[in-house]
Amino acid sequence: MKIEVLGMGCASCNKLYQNALEAVRQSGKEVQVVKVEDIQKIMSYGVLSTPALVIDGVVKAAGKLPKAEEIKEWIK
């Protein structure tokens, strides 16, 4: 499983990255969390607002800041 956090390094993007890490830690699962800051890669997902959260290639949230608990639900 892989979580990608899309965003060009804004404050809320870092917050989302932290939330994702926290969710993975709480779930105890083996999940890879990566930041995607390259604009071409961000655009390739078709999102227009960041931060965005992609789990295994599926855009789960865009322009929002889901909490760790919500992300935990998505990776269950």
């Binding site: 404050a11 809320s12 655009m43 390739s44 999102v47 227009l48 865009a62």
Partner: protein, 315 residues
Amino acid sequence: MLKTLADYVVFDLLMARPGTHLGEALNFFIYDTLKIFLLLSVIIFIVAVIRSYFPPEKTRRILSRRHVYVGNALAASLGIVTPFCSCSAVPLFIGFVESGVPLGVTFSFLVSSPMINEVALVLLLGLFGWKIAFMYVGTGLVIAIISGIVIGKLKLEKYVQDYVYQMKVGHAEIVNQNFREKIKYAKDYTGELLRKIWPYILVGVGVGGFIHGYVPSEFLVKYAGPGNPLAVPVAVLIGVPLYSNAAGTIPIVQALMGKGLPIGTVLAFMMAVTALSLPEAVILKNVLKMRLLLIFFGIVALAIVGVGYFFNAIL
């Protein structure tokens, strides 16, 4: 009701005498703070729910392949309800341009979206009343439409960074929220936003209260009153670096207006605070060549100054 509460706290609990500088400043501070926070909680929540129905992806779909005039008017209106954060200006701009939204229409959106925001709207409603809030929204729309049309007519596509046109934009479906999730998000969003802006509001209202109670009216009218033709452009210049502090600046401006600052100057200043921001310019530099960036800021600034003179002249 709030007025009674503020009167009670200041004049009865704190035993400040009505009519004194301290009493009036304190009363103003408590009344305004209560009113603003009440309005903010309600209106930010409502706006957040409305906005969840207009994600930028949908707005783009509505705007793609639109032409001038109708497209500009639609883009400016959608700018009000589509959530926008300057941190996503780059993907938004690329996404719009790539899907065939004309450059001028894109700019109408980029002007109205930050300018007509919920915080500015609440503060204008709460502190200045319906009439001025309405004027702000109306003239904001006009500025966004006109700036976009002018940029469209100038044929400036060559001043967009070249890589923008080579981008490959995907079309992933974004998972939809149901109504309950939308409400929950709106609630969280309201809480987060309030947590972020409350110190600015307190400082702003505090300074406003001080001006209200202590600064003599003649002082301000002498320098920034209707007699000084430079007041409007200077107000716009001062507004640019104050970005993101609409929450703090609007209460101060309201107090200044009470001291005789003319309405056109006040509107121009607030529009400059919300619409023209240096951080946004830095971000837009990623997709615009310097020349287009300067033209964009120049046109919007000119339009705002024009609005300022217009209202100073007719009211």
